[in-house]
């Protein structure tokens, strides 16, 4: 029996050390003068803008992915970050468990595909830039359409309905002739812009411009989300998450704000979908597996739901981890094949040692701390 008690205690101290270390960092951050924070933030942003240059990343040791084009990976990662920031509004702030978030991504991507691709039946061939706002608007509308009947449901029921929604979109993409199924849409135009010598800025080979574009949009979206969460809207969302009945009785029009959470989250996913389509040039039904919804949800929880920085870190790390396994062989086994096994393992370990996520919102951290105490008392 002693053996079973021993190891957790030893691990506990290691974890505690880590935890204290992080707390110290967080403490320093909060007590640092304003300019220090701005400088650090600027440095981080510059770092990420510089990241996709080989002259820079070759010095970063094991960070670049061996089995895949690092710039491509960065683009994928940035899309996941954008999605995690969007889903964090719905799950983290408003507390609505949305398992079908990737469905909105699909709506965004397909809107762009249908309206711009020559292989679409509509033959509109509109430019990419014009279609982006349409895609965002349409995903918002689809969010409102899904939300209006379903946001009266709570908890588990909402999760089931949103899961169904994502599947509906996927099945429509697979089997509807209008959406072309596996054959998909090709020749989707890229974003506009040219170099001085006339070469298009957003080309086929170089993924860097797309990454920079997404990075810029992430910054804008984060500013927007921050504005929302530090206002009446954010307070309404959190109050709904905390106690929906009490929120209603304190005069919060809960349905309206839940719908707004859904619509804002959807809009961000729509934007991500449009960016993805503009980069990929090709959209077909295989891009929108259910697994993606789950990965993003896992990313939000992994990073710390209810915290914007947490969502960014979670989305980035999860997407990166999955790609990092590509091209690594161990004892003749291609690790990439088992990537979700590792992913699952990491999640399980996380949930044991840090259930509130990597960078939880301070409130969550307090809550879990309390629960910890309760458990100990209970024993």
């Amino acid at each position: 029996m002693t053996t079973t008690i021993d190891p957790p205690e030893r691990r506990e101290t290691a974890v505690d050390k880590l935890r204290n270390g992080r707390a110290a960092v967080a403490d320093r951050w909060h007590h640092a003068p304003r300019w220090v924070r701005w400088v650090l933030l600027a440095a981080v942003i510059v770092f990420f803008y510089a990241l996709p240059n080989k002259e820079f990343y070759q010095y970063l040791g094991p960070i670049p992915t061996p089995g895949a084009n690092f710039t491509q990976v960065l683009f994928t990662v940035s899309i996941y970050v954008l999605l995690a920031v969007g889903l964090n509004i719905v799950v983290g702030f408003a507390g609505l468990l949305d398992l079908g978030y990737f469905g909105f991504f699909a709506v965004g991507a397909y809107t762009v595909a249908v309206l711009t691709s020559p292989s679409s039946n509509l033959k509109t061939l509109w430019p990419w830039l014009l279609v982006v706002p349409i895609a965002i608007a349409l995903t918002m509308v689809s969010g409102v359409m899904l939300g209006t009947p379903t946001l009266r449901l709570r908890g588990d029921y909402l999760a089931l309905v949103t899961l169904g929604f994502a599947e509906m979109i996927r099945i429509a993409a697979v089997s509807s002739t209008f959406l072309k199924g596996q054959r998909g849409f090709s020749e989707i135009p890229h974003p506009p812009g040219k170099y001085a010598d006339g070469r298009p800025f957003f080309g086929v080979l170089d993924a860097r411009p797309y990454y920079w574009l997404v990075l810029t949009l992430i910054i804008l979206v984060v500013i927007g989300v921050r504005n929302l969460t530090h206002s009446r809207v954010g307070r309404a969302w959190i109050s709904i998450r905390e106690d929906e009945d009490a929120a209603q009785l304190m005069g919060v029009p809960t349905f309206k704000f839940k719908l707004w959470a859904f619509a804002s989250g959807a809009a961000i996913a729509g934007l991500a979908g449009a960016l993805f389509a503009g980069k990929q040039n090709f959209v077909n039904s295989q891009n929108f597996e259910l697994l993606n919804s789950i990965i993003i949800l896992a990313a939000v929880i992994f990073g710390g739901s209810g915290n914007i920085v947490g969502a960014i870190v979670g989305g980035g790390l999860v997407a990166y981890m999955i790609e990092r396994f590509r091209g690594i062989e161990l004892f003749g086994i291609e690790l990439y094949e088992y990537r979700f096994l590792f992913f699952g393992l990491v999640l399980v370990i996380m949930m044991i040692f840090r259930p509130q996520g990597l960078i939880p919102n301070r409130r969550r951290a307090a809550e879990f701390k309390d629960r910890r105490k309760e458990v100990i008392v209970g024993e």
Binding site: R232, S239, L249, M250, R363, E367, D370
Partner: protein, 281 residues
Amino acid sequence: MSDTEQTPAVPAQAAAPAVETVREREPLLEVDHVTLRFGGVVALNDVDFTLYKGEILGLIGPNGAGKTTCFNAMTGIYQPTEGQIRFRGEKISGKKRHQITRMGMARTFQNIRLFPEMTALENVQVGADAHHKTSVISALLRLPRHWKEEREGREKAERLLEFVGIRKRMHEFARNLSYGEQRRLEIARALATDPVLLCLDEPAAGFNPAEKEELLQLIRQIRDQGVTVLLIEHDMRLVMGVTDRIVVLEFGKKIAEGLPAEVRDNPKVVAAYLGVPDDAA
């Protein structure tokens, strides 16, 4: 209609000097022959009383008498099976809960229901937001309305926290406040919605005598600011000490109504509620 004439007439005249606020006799909330059934269970049976502007009305009764059910019907959580509830002359049923709050009715909860992961200040700000109009667009673009309402809400919240005496703790999370502070915070949050009528559901539950005394003072102060108070309470001393009138429920029926002294001497009430030896509680 008959109830508005019948109930107040006699005691009001008799007690007018003692209970001066009741003189106005302007009905604020009318519970008009309300019956509420859950399947076969009759939770409220033809309950009928009126709450007048400026008074403190106590709603009492033994456990399971239907006090909280009545309370929930009044705040729009349950729809009456028969009869209706009018607040400021308007029917409550069919209105959304947040609309009822905006009409000027606020409440606290028997088992505290704060937003535990928000600070005390934020909790009160949510209440203040009931009358704000900032929505996604103005918040996203930081339009002047956002700044104006944010400042107003913040000032109001700080003022109310000061009023209930927990201003020092305003940046503390609600879950970290002590029990008494949480009860006070609930009152501050309810007051932030600018209520005409404040409904307190057993606000003194779990309080010691000193805390109860402070609460009494607080309730009186709230009334003095022109807010009508409906009080559900177990503690008879508290009820007798602060209310202007009392309505007694038993098994979902109103068995008595009147001034505290009258109710105390009413044999029905004594039998139902005060008959137990812990009269003085």
